[in-house]
Symmetry: C2
Subunit: 327 residues, 2 copies
């Protein structure tokens, strides 16, 4: 079975999905939909079209799953319910506090339309969520810890770029080894925000900018940096391009639990080390596009998450092949 | 919903399942079924009965899921199809090469009877299988490696005990750090059996036994030891009891894959560090008993594996709670 895929939005994530679809022999990219001028965009897939996002409104585009690559703040809350009323869709909505509301909105649209809509896909939420649910279910007496990094936080990099006198910036989130070790020991520590992660900033300042003020503004920025130990390094534009061009990321979900009389401890750890955050996230979205297409053809309508999808639905292999080679 | 559970077999694994059921507030152990004299067995759950295995034959025992804790060599190929014709069941069948045949036998029995039967549950096959399928599905261009240990292999310990002059023995499977490092580097190495794991043996010899002969017999034993670097240590019975009483185990599934033009590498690692292999395996079986009961009530009849179960089915939490707290 070949799944016809559309991608909405052609930023880093959209390009990551495109690369992933190329590597999936049972998927074909039909079109990239954009809010920009389609003529201004050159994509990487021979045979696929670039179209205006307005083309989707007919509901008659020749796609089976639309992968929506927009931002969680303003794009997805509007886009996902809108397009779930027309196509089966996937998004990577990651504003944890608003997931219940987003789920309800998308569920209503998808159930009415007979589509299947999977929200909050990627690695966190996504692969990390799976591991939290598996671990809590297997060992009910336990606790999960999530660490992120070492990796580039695009939200934090953007926050630095908005400071006056900053030309460009890259922020790395770095898990603190001592905290990881404490968690892995099974001692179930209470850890503050500051004890779990460091924030490491690489900043290109404009000529004659007041670096001391920039550093102070970064370190005291509420929500983003004030609760962390933050280091600020000023570098040249060339150094930023040379040493910080990639978008690596990763992290770990560590779960420690007890069994029997409580004296037997167990540590479950799932970790990711990713050279490219958008390419890996795009790969997760593409794998779940396979599942969404299958579930839709089984009349599983409405909103779902990764927690509702049996692993077998993600694989291009038959159930027999999976049992023979991967079980 | 409360699930009424039966346990067939009261060895290490059966006791591990019993402890896990106790910690699951939505499960109650109704009875342990045994091939031994029920009067000879004292269990750990007030209110649960110990019964002869023959009581199961009526098909009228008051249980919703029977967790079959038998051996893969001779017990399970016979027991699981037999009892799947009467009850929803779970087993931990782990003879990889025979899974397709076992699946077919159990599937036929369960479909005819309207029961749900989950085979090959535990951590390998089981949690490790899930991680192989997820990783291959997300990153089709990649490769998985499985390492076991450091931990006690009961099969290998038994093999040593069968040697003349051996009173008792404990064998640890130990992953080789250099191999782990090579795999984690993403270099996709080809590794021989000998390069992946060591075998470490702790042996209590009978008085006047020929230790040199025992060591030679261990190290040259085909399938079990001949393909590995094996160390043999003779110790006293007291030392064995003092230092090697537990059944720890664990291991890692490491997957390395590429995206984009192939230059971006990703490492996915799932690892377990378990103080008690049977208690952890029992915990996995108990969590899947929850899923089997739910799936049976949704008329999902026949044989399934962990690959066919959506993670949400394993959790005692409602879908809303899972989305709010674990997604």
């Amino acid at each position: 079975m070949i799944t016809k895929v559309g991608i909405l939005g052609y930023g880093n994530l959209g390009r990551g999905v495109e690369e992933a679809v190329k590597r999936n022999e049972d998927q074909v990219l039909k079109a990239v939909y954009t809010r920009r001028d389609p003529a201004s965009i050159k994509i990487n897939t021979p045979g696929a079209e670039v179209k205006s996002v307005s083309e989707l409104d007919s509901g008659h585009e020749d796609i089976e799953v639309l992968i929506i690559c927009g931002g969680s703040a303003t794009d997805l809350p509007e886009m996902t319910p809108k397009y779930a009323a027309l196509y089966s869709v996937i998004d990577s909505f990651d504003t944890h506090a608003n997931i219940p509301q987003h789920f309800a909105n998308v569920d209503k649209a998808a159930k009415n339309a007979g589509t299947t809509a999977l929200i909050s896909c990627g690695w966190d939420p996504g692969m990390f969520s799976l591991n939290r649910v598996y671990a809590h279910s297997v060992l009910p007496d336990g606790r999960d810890y999530t660490f992120w990094g070492r990796g580039v936080s695009q939200g934090h990099s953007d926050a630095i770029r908005r400071i006056e006198g900053v030309k460009d910036a890259r922020q790395y989130t770095v898990p603190i080894e001592a905290a990881l070790d404490k968690v892995r020991s099974g001692s179930n520590p209470e850890l503050t925000t500051r004890e779990k992660h460091l924030r490491e900033c690489w900043v290109v300042a404009e000529e004659n900018a007041d670096k001391a003020r920039i550093e102070e503004e970064i370190k005291t920025m509420p929500n983003y940096f004030a609760d962390y130990d933050t280091t600020v390094n000023f570098i040249s534009e060339e150094e930023l391009k040379r040493d910080h061009a990639g978008l690596p990321h990763g992290g770990s979900v560590i779960y420690t639990g007890a069994t029997g009389d409580g004296s037997n401890k167990h540590v479950i750890e799932y970790s990711l080390k990713l050279d490219s955050n958008p390419e890996f996230t795009g790969s997760v979205l593409a794998a779940y596009a396979r599942a969404v297409d299958r579930l839709n053809k089984e009349d599983r309508f409405g909103c779902i998450t990764v927690l509702d999808v049996a692993p077998a639905y993600l694989s291009p292999l038959s159930p027999e092949e999976q049992r023979a080679h991967l079980l």
